[in-house]
Amino acid sequence: MSTANVPEPIQGVEIDWFADGEVVTVTPRDQKRFEIQKDRAIQILQIADKQGKQFEFLVDRLVRWISDNENAIDGAYLTLQDGTLAFVVVRREARYDEDFQDELADLDFGIANDTELDMIRLKTLALPNVGPSALKSFLDQRLILSFHGQRSRPHQSGRP
């Protein structure tokens, strides 16, 4: 007999397009209650849901690309630059790598033209092998997602 705990059902709050009433009343944690048109609330939640799914899809895609190019990469970060997401890759070497730049440009172009990522705006940047203080100026502290390979590998120089 299984002894696994059965999770308690999550109590949902339903906003039904066909329900009576045109306004949804929202009470946030700070109690600053506000009202919003029901159809507008549903539209916003649909967009948020789609954005969330696309972001997850983007991260999966970046992880696959990192894995394919692991030998050339010392660190990889998803951050913000100029109001868009930015994928910043720190290479293992200092010298210019023409093939690597082409690979990254192909990834960038592919993401921009992927219909499953039509809400994502992303720019890319390949940096030569730099230390943490130099890298820091390319990362926005409001969002830094750091990618680590499947293998546990100490990050030598690119740690922000």
């Binding site: 630059q81 100029d82 109001g83 868009t84 070497e93 200092a94 010298r95 210019y96 023409e98 730049q101 082409d102 990254l104 440009a105 192909d106 960038d108 172009f109 921009a112 033209n113 705006r121 720019k123 890319t124 940047l125 390949a126 940096l127 030569p128 092998n129 730099v130 230390g131 943490p132 203080s133 130099a134 100026s137 390319f138 030598q156 120089s157 690119g158």
Partner: protein, 142 residues
Amino acid sequence: MASEADHISLADRNHDFLVDVLREGRFPDWAATVAFYKAVHVVEAVFAADLGRDSTSHTDREESLKTLKYKRIFKDYTHLLTASRIARYLESRDEGKYHQFADFMDAQEVNRLVAKRLYGVKQHSLPFLTDHGKALKKISPA
């Protein structure tokens, strides 16, 4: 909005300085930066002639280039963009193999970058330019 002719004129001014700074050979970082700004004006000339508009920012320009018809321009452009960003913003005294632009590219490599990637931006832009635009100053191919 700046016209195609305006951008070609600015591209040519950058070209003249680029030729000087490449010949001089002491400032590969500046050569990479000027090469990028020549590419910026070539791309803006394309947008003026083909789309009838300017870019509002570097990000806006990059987004506009990520369409199928501009794909080859975009790929060459990214090499110049990356080199110029490294030249302008990356100097490091701490750990890591990179400390200054010379660790990334020397003068010969910048010459190759210009001869291949700036040349590529120009060549792939020609189909979108008017006859006036096509008369912009030429980079020799690799």
